[in-house]
Symmetry: C2
Subunit: 66 residues, 2 copies
């Protein structure tokens, strides 16, 4: 699943480590999600949505298949 975390981070001038701290996950988790290695859990997606004050759908992009 694609996401706009890198852009949203850039807008706030945050490093991956900054975002990781804000979301209470490891820096590697942020990196893996940004690189599309795996999808965040729903609670983590909610946390990101609250942090950026955006709906989940405006951060994560589920281009649906079948």
């Amino acid at each position: 699943m694609k996401n706009r975390l890198k852009v949203l981070r850039a807008e706030k001038d945050w490093t991956q480590a900054d975002l990781a701290d804000a979301l209470d996950v490891s820096r590697q988790t942020i990196n893996a999600i940004e690189k599309g290695k795996f999808d965040p859990s729903l609670p983590l997606a909610f946390k990101a949505a609250r942090l950026f004050n955006l709906p989940i759908e405006k951060i994560f992009d589920d281009e649906y298949e079948a």
Copy 2:
């Protein structure tokens, strides 16, 4: 995490099995999610949102802690 699946199902007069079929998961998975035993994955949440034509936040309710 709370959710409104039971109500949304009722509005369409669907059983847990009907919803499970529509979302391509097992009936037990629907039951467990409805009973709050675990949270759906983000892709499954997106699928439910599409099915009910609602934003994720209108189906799942993450009352945030800390």
